[in-house]
């Protein structure tokens, strides 16, 4: 069956199934199980009201449970078994992994990514948000800087392959070097620094995200505080760093963590640009090296990523609870 036809059928069956489920289950609840008639009228309505939320929630909870909660347990469990999944080896996968240089390189690089990318993207985002704030063509500038958000990491990698190409007739970097008479280099093969060339791609993508959110936060600052500062003779830099930034600190933290989480998931850029060669491996790409070959190892790496994310998760939940109460 052609995928298009299959896709159409899925849309119809999937969407129809969902709509059908919600309609039918509510109908059954209201008309069959707890009909709003007879003497039990009031009691039945109350009962239906108690059950209904779960009808609404069931498909979502089921999918979330299966695709996000179960895997946490399932992955950990699988990581305790060997390559083929037949022999229980306890923490064996973790022990061999920590002893391996490739893993240590990946961890080290991942730390670099987790520091550099959120810092650079947040800083640049804040800078653009502030600079474009009062600009007539600010919205156009923002759109253009925001644009890479729409591009896939693979697409972005390809775009930057052109920038980094070692042929001075294709790569801009080498064209500039050539102009000044320097020899062509392959930026992606310079150990250590190549990591930063890869990070630039993610910064390029994420700055727009930081900018949009920080720009909204800047707009939310009460005018009076700024006017007061101007009357007191503060210069624009003082206004920015001493008045504005402290007031949007909460948003800066949110942006920073959101990008940090993204960094911990991204593998596409490394995969497409260097394939993890030349010491550019990070944890997610390191995991993909073992995917389909050694599920024990792959799940062990995934679980390490999970443990790193855990504090952010707890912090997120705490924030949400605080807001709700």
């Amino acid at each position: 069956m052609s995928p298009i036809l299959q896709g159409l059928i899925t849309i119809i069956v999937g969407v129809g199934g969902c709509v059908g489920y919600f309609f039918a289950s509510n109908w059954v609840l209201d008309k069959v199980i707890f009909p709003a008639r007879n003497d039990d009228n009031g009691r039945n309505i109350n009962r239906a009201t108690m059950v209904r939320p779960w009808l609404f929630l069931f498909p979502a909870m089921f999918a979330l449970g299966l695709y996000l909660v179960y895997p946490v347990v399932g992955s950990f469990w699988r990581s305790l078994y060997n390559r083929s999944g037949e022999e229980f080896i306890g923490l064996g996968n973790y022990v061999t992994m920590f002893g391996e240089e490739g893993f240590r390189t990946a961890v080290f690089n991942n730390i670099l990514w987790a520091i550099f990318v959120p810092a650079a993207a947040t800083f640049l985002g804040l800078l653009v948000a502030q600079l474009t704030d009062k600009l007539k063509w600010g919205n156009i500038a923002k759109s253009l800087i925001f644009m890479p958000m729409a591009i896939s990491f693979v697409g972005a990698s390809l775009i930057w392959k052109f920038v980094y190409a070692n042929d001075p007739d294709i790569g801009i970097i080498n064209a500039v070097r050539d102009f000044f008479g320097a020899d062509a280099i392959d930026p992606l093969q310079i150990p250590f620094w190549n990591n930063f060339f890869l990070m630039v791609i993610l910064v390029w993508i994420q700055t727009g995200f930081a900018m949009v959110i920080l720009s909204a936060a800047l707009r939310g600052i009460p005018e009076e505080t700024i006017e007061a500062a101007i009357i007191d003779g503060a210069n624009p830099f003082q206004i920015f760093f001493k008045i504005k930034v402290p007031q949007i600190m909460g948003t800066i933290v949110v942006v920073w963590t959101t990008i940090t989480i993204l960094v911990l998931k991204v593998f596409d850029i490394v995969y497409a640009m260097t394939g993890g060669n030349f010491d550019t491996e990070i944890l997610p790409s390191y995991m993909m090296d073992y995917m389909f070959r050694d599920d024990g190892r792959a799940t062990a790496v995934a679980f390490v990523i999970m443990i790193i994310v855990l504090p952010v998760m707890i912090w997120n939940i705490r924030q949400a609870r605080k807001e709700m109460s």
Binding site: D30, P53, A63, L68, D295
Partner: protein
């Protein structure tokens, strides 16, 4: 306000310049890709895309038919014009170099003769030997001979094996030792005008299966965008407007699940899919994307629905509407902006995804989506074919870019609902 501070002009010039610089830095990579995707492949390797508006020096291979051959001793020769001898030479009629081998297509400059000589050298034992020697010399002069060859044997004499004189306008004279059987090959370097076209797109779409990948991407994306919205909308309504035990816990769970790394799900779920018979298939990837997209969907939609005016919903309930009716008749239509913003997110995310597609779709080329096609196939097999790569990348980012620019308003709204409250 800046007026009040009295420093508007100087600061605003600096601001404008910095923003222009930043925008340029942000745009240049993409523009480079776009320009390259339309350029002729030979031109890409000759000059950078930033010079694509200028003519490019390109080497052409011309084989003029020998007509009107005259003879001078052993030397046979004929003349003509190289530009009229070939259709392929699109040059401006201005030769900047020429040669007789593909290795050195521009070895001679116009007005010179370039050719291969046979040097007659004296061997140490007194005998003679012949040796090839390529050189250029003025058309009306004589070639300069080296005194000895590379082995130190003295050069006595020479004769022309084959040589060609080319003028800047393409007029040439070919001379050759012995009769001219087949058409000789002459190389010229001429400035070719900028060459833009859809050749790269045509090639990638017709012969490289990119069209298939495009359709596969659409097939993955559309169901994986619609289904989670539907499921999430009901759940979000329940979490926003229905009272039941455990609501707070469920909301916290959704928030927590927002950050769960996808990587965890890959191995256990692929095993599960295999066990229940879905395996690696489109059905599998739809389910996976639905599951992975739900936390953000529920979170965004709930945040939005909580903000809807309480009295509308309560008065509807007082009038006897059930939650189901309130949801479908009131909340769902009012939530359109939030639904749209999540739809854009989920569309972009599934369209741009590489990881889930690599794991949950079959690894044969029939099922490749575009990201997989580019990352696993084109970057390897067409690593140096920049025109093709650029066209492929542009095909894969065109749809998201259109969606982005058309629906930017909703995208921004969704981001703001998701991150700042």
């Amino acid at each position: 306000m800046e007026n009040m501070a009295g420093q508007k002009t100087s600061l605003s010039i600096v601001t404008n310049i910095s923003v222009v610089a930043l925008v340029l830095i942000w745009l240049i990579p993409t523009i480079g890709l776009l320009v390259s995707s339309f350029r002729d492949r030979e031109q890409i390797s000759e000059t950078g895309w930033w010079a694509s508006m200028f003519p490019v020096e390109v080497a052409y291979r011309v084989s003029p038919e020998p007509e009107g051959v005259t003879q001078d001793g052993d030397l046979y020769m004929f003349s003509g014009n190289l530009f009229s001898a070939s259709d392929e030479v699109s040059g401006s009629g201005d030769v900047s170099g020429f040669g007789i081998t593909g290795r050195a297509p521009g070895a001679g400059t116009p007005g010179q003769t370039y050719g291969r000589l046979k040097l007659i050298v004296t061997e140490p034992d007194g005998g003679t030997d012949e040796e090839n020697f390529e050189t250029a010399w003025p058309a009306d002069g004589q070639p300069e001979l080296p005194e000895t060859d590379e082995e130190g044997r003295p050069v006595q004499d020479f004769y022309i094996d084959r040589a060609v004189t080319v003028a800047a306008n393409g007029d040439f004279t070919w001379m050759q030792d012995g009769e001219i059987g087949r058409a000789p090959t002459v190389y010229i370097v001429a400035a070719a005008p900028p060459d833009f076209g859809l050749d790269n797109y045509e090639q990638i779409l017709t012969s490289d299966n990119m069209d298939r990948a495009f359709i596969n991407t659409l097939t993955v994306t559309i169901p994986a965008t619609i289904i989670p919205i539907l499921i999430a909308a009901f759940a979000a309504y329940a979490l926003a407007w229905m009272d039941f035990r455990g609501r707070g816990f469920l909301i916290a769970m959704v928030v927590g699940l927002l950050v769960v790394p996808l990587q965890l799900a890959l191995v256990p779920l692929l095993q599960l899919h295999n066990k229940i018979g879905i395996g690696q298939s489109f059905l599998g990837i739809w389910l996976a994307h639905t599951g992975f997209g739900l936390p953000l969907a529920i979170y965004l939609l709930r945040n939005y629905m909580v903000g809807l005016p309480r009295d509308i919903i309560e008065s509807a309930k007082v009038d006897g509407a059930t939650d189901f009716q309130v949801f479908t008749k009131i909340v769902l239509p009012l939530s359109f902006p939030a639904l749209a913003s999540f739809a854009i997110f989920q569309f972009l995310w599934t369209w741009n995804d590489l990881l889930v597609a690599k794991v949950f779709l079959p690894s044969n080329s029939e099922s490749w989506v575009m990201t997989v096609k580019i990352a696993d196939d084109l970057l390897g097999s067409r690593g140096g074919d920049w025109g093709i790569l650029a066209a492929a990348a542009f095909i894969s980012i065109a749809v998201p870019l259109i969606v982005f620019f058309a629906m930017q308003k909703y995208l921004v709204r969704g981001l703001l609902a998701g991150s700042v409250k």
